[in-house]
């Protein structure tokens, strides 16, 4: 939860800014300096799709004391409408309501709070449509 890292990655977390390669046209998230598909450095920012489909999901039951009020929480692999796959928390629903293939949309939530006095890290999660 260092200020420079939180600041540098804010667009990635808030807006879902990844990359598109101008040589091979492949899209990737999270962003990298070099295209993971062809190794080109010719990449530019790309905003990932707002909606997607749930592929896999699991429930996290045990965490450290600092996250005790957030457990259990759900983590899922989401295939977005633009083909990008992201791993993120699934919120606004119970584990038993989840089904493979259900439609999800991006939402804006707290990812972590650094104690009572530190920074709050915000970013996207997904919720059922």
């Amino acid at each position: 939860m260092e200020p420079p890292k939180i600041w540098r990655e804010r667009r990635e977390r808030y807006l879902g800014i990844g990359i598109i390669c101008e040589d091979c046209q492949k899209k990737n998230f999270p962003k990298t300096r070099i295209c993971p598909d062809c190794g080109s450095e010719n990449v530019k920012p790309y905003k990932i799709a707002e909606r997607g489909t749930l592929k896999y999901f699991t429930q996290i039951m045990n965490t450290g004391d600092e996250l005790i009020f957030n457990t259990p929480y759900i983590v899922g692999l989401v295939e977005l409408e633009d083909g990008i796959k992201v791993t993120a928390q699934i919120v606004d629903c119970d584990f038993k309501e989840l089904r493979k293939g259900m439609k999800l949309e991006k939402t804006f939530r707290v990812l972590a709070r650094n104690g009572k006095e530190g920074l709050i890290k915000y970013g996207f999660k997904f919720r059922p449509i």
Partner: protein
């Protein structure tokens, strides 16, 4: 008023959890039916632990942006009114700016005036636009209020957010006039560092809520030469259902004029967002040519009154984003146990 200015888009957000008055009353051995008949509130909204004033403000702002369809770079001012900002120092408005892609050339600030901080931001945007300092402004009211367990406020203190984009182009609700009334009235307060607010019990009624709303509303009607019967819709701050119904009657408005705006019955008092969500609910169904009067109230105390005329543009932007009714119906009820975990009342 010279050039036309008004609302160009709006969006709201209400968290999915609800706790009923019955559930809270059963914990404290109180008579739920008596409380419901007094307040005419049935349940209230409760945020998840990963929601706060900033996340709700972003959701409402994104709904407004979707309805508008314009570019975020055109927004020249962002104001977020709240009494429960996540940081004491570090503006919520900056987080909203980044989350809607409006960082850069824009002014931003957090406002605080109990439940009317959101309408204070609307008024500031109208002024900046009319003086040609900016083209588009974003005013948000967002609150996730705290109530001490067993305090009467525990039945009503809800959470929610409303965002209004204000400008000159493609106006959906044209501003006809605004009037404010302010006084130093100690009806409700929270000292720096205190977790829960304090209030003046019965003192919160007559000299506070009713006096300010009546003075601001009458002041506006006189200023623009209108009568209550000239309006199709009216809404006021909604700390419960009884107060806005009673103040409407005192001012000479009918139950029909106000009834449909009373979202508080199902989501509770959303503080800074309260009168703005009421206004959004009216915009969800208003027709071109309709006239709408909105008066907020913030403890401490003050009221902002606004008069709007709905334009034909309202039909173009409808169905582009979620309605107030969608959020009222998209809910799940929780127990007092889960509520106390979500609100941080439960300690480990």
């Amino acid at each position: 008023m010279s050039e036309k200015v008004g609302i160009i888009a709006y969006g709201i957000y209400i968290p999915r959890n609800r706790i009923t008055v019955d559930e809270i009353a059963s914990i404290w051995g109180e008579d739920a039916n008596e409380i419901k008949s007094q307040l005419q509130i049935f349940e209230k909204s409760v945020p998840f632990p990963d929601e706060d004033v900033a996340t709700m403000a972003v959701e409402a702002a994104r709904n407004a942006m979707k309805q508008w369809g314009g570019e975020a770079e055109k927004i020249g001012a962002i104001y977020v009114g709240s009494e429960s900002h996540p940081y004491a120092v570090k503006p919520t408005a900056t987080i909203v700016a980044a989350a809607i892609g409006a960082e850069g050339e824009t002014t931003a600030a957090d406002l605080e005036f109990a439940c009317k901080a959101g309408t204070a931001g609307m008024q500031m945007c109208f002024g900046l636009i009319q003086s040609n300092m900016i083209k588009v402004g974003l005013a948000i009211g967002s609150d996730s209020s705290q109530a001490k367990p067993k305090d009467p406020l525990e039945y009503t203190a809800g959470a929610g957010s409303a965002a209004f984009l204000i400008g000159k182009q493609d106006i959906i609700a044209e501003l006809e006039g605004t009037y404010s009334y302010t006084s130093d009235t100690p009806d409700f307060w929270r000292r720096e560092g205190a977790t829960f607010p304090s209030h003046g019990q019965r003192f919160t009624g007559m000299p506070a809520y009713f006096d300010h709303i009546i003075k601001a509303t009458k002041g506006l009607l006189e200023k623009i030469d209108r009568k209550p019967e000239d309006y199709d819709y009216v809404t006021f701050h909604q700390p419960n259902t009884k107060f806005p119904l009673r103040v409407a009657k005192m001012l000479g408005f009918s139950k029909e004029q106000i009834e449909n705006s009373l979202a508080c019955k199902y989501v509770g008092n959303t503080y800074s967002a309260s009168s703005m969500i009421g206004f959004a609910k009216i915009l969800d169904e208003a027709q071109p040519g309709d006239k709408v009067l909105v008066t907020s109230y913030g403890s401490g105390a003050g009221s902002d009154a606004f008069s709007f005329k709905i334009t034909e543009n309202i039909e173009k932007i409808r169905s582009r984003s979620k309605t107030v009714q969608y959020y009222i119906e998209n809910k799940r009820n929780i127990s007092y146990g889960l509520y106390s975990r979500y609100k941080g009342i439960l300690k480990v």
